[in-house]
Amino acid sequence: MIIVKKLVKRFGLKVILRGLDFSVQQGEFVALLGPNGAGKTTFLRILASLSRPSLGQVQVAGHQLPDEAAQVRAKLGVVSHMPLLYPDLTAEENMKFYASMYGIADPGPRITEVLDMVGLENRRKDLVRTFSRGMQQRLAIGRAVIHNPEVMLFDEPYTGLDQDASEMLDEVLRSVAAEGRTVVMTSHDLARAEDLATRFDILSRGVIAACATQKELQNSNLLTFYKQALVN
């Protein structure tokens, strides 16, 4: 579903990604872990077609980036630590707007279904600016799945959430993944990543330093694996 070969990303003279190789099968939930400045967000922005690779090959959902960016975007849902929502519109108006941007013909039933999924059906007529950070993040997930994408990218979705909101977000993320979608999530929260993901990739100094599946980690724990990967 995602194939990345020898990806390089430079900003001026600064090299962020140094020949990164990465691939994800359909239905996999990959947690992309790494210290600050490792290049996680830059990598996700390239997968999301928001940034162009300097060198290398990137293929998402069967389409090459950046040449087939529009086709990729139609199959992609992105959630970042910012909700990408308009505070002066209601939850329903935000959903309607994004549904029209994705060309959804009859958005009404889909909006109801998505708001129900993220537990905000009873707040559909409320302005987003009256929502808590946790509610905004859940609505952001609703926004990202409105067009039923095949691939989901989550960039630090837990940033700024309290314990209750994080647990609620866990539930939503599980239900998104349970649909058979391919998910890539960056996070600093190793416990959450361990709980949700089926594979763990450690990004360090612009390359994937180590990777392991949940099965491979059974006799170890993620923190030890993570620390070892960074030392090596």
Partner: protein
Amino acid sequence: MVTNKQPVTRNASPSLLKATFAIVRKDLAAELRSFELISAMLVFSLLVIIIFNFALELDVKVRQSVTAGVLWTTFAFAGTLGLNRSMSTEKDRGCMDGLLLAPVDRSAIYFGKAISNLAFMLIVEAIVLPVYSILYNVNLFRLDLIGVILLGSIGYTAVGTLLSAMSVQTRTREVLLPILLFPVAIPVLLASVKASGSLLAGAEFSEILTPLNILIVYDIVFISVAFMLFDHVVEE
């Protein structure tokens, strides 16, 4: 929690026109609720014309001769406020990424934002004109003058929307936009002042053809340039 009970019927991708008007509708709906942008532009505009009214204690004849300059100075500065605010609301909450992630031609984002910006500018102008008429005792309700104001505003927002999309990505966006915009918008501002001034001085329509042509050409050129460049401007 189960998704996808309903099949999602999706067109290949929304047309340029549909996506453009979705953005315009969204901007107008958000602004009608908050009035953040229009109120800032309006208060600024009214303050400027009141300050000029007291600063230029002139007779009626001289007032008529400065009207075009005062009006376009007011519109230009108020317009800059609106352009900055309109694009920074998209950027600050990451909504620009939301727009860029949609499978639409990115020109739709430009046209949507430009039409919204033009609508906000025209609303402010529609309120400023009668206030100016009363304060300065000058009749501004003339179709030909309104036509010139419309053409000037289209040119100003066409180039302003493109440049605000560039400047909003910098830390010094509030300062950078006017620095970038005013030199580029000089032809449209000068032509607008010239055409408006001549009309208010009682000139015939044929006498304002040169500035009018400049305005029309400027509008076409900058809309075309923005159409071609916007994709590159918003790309990281």
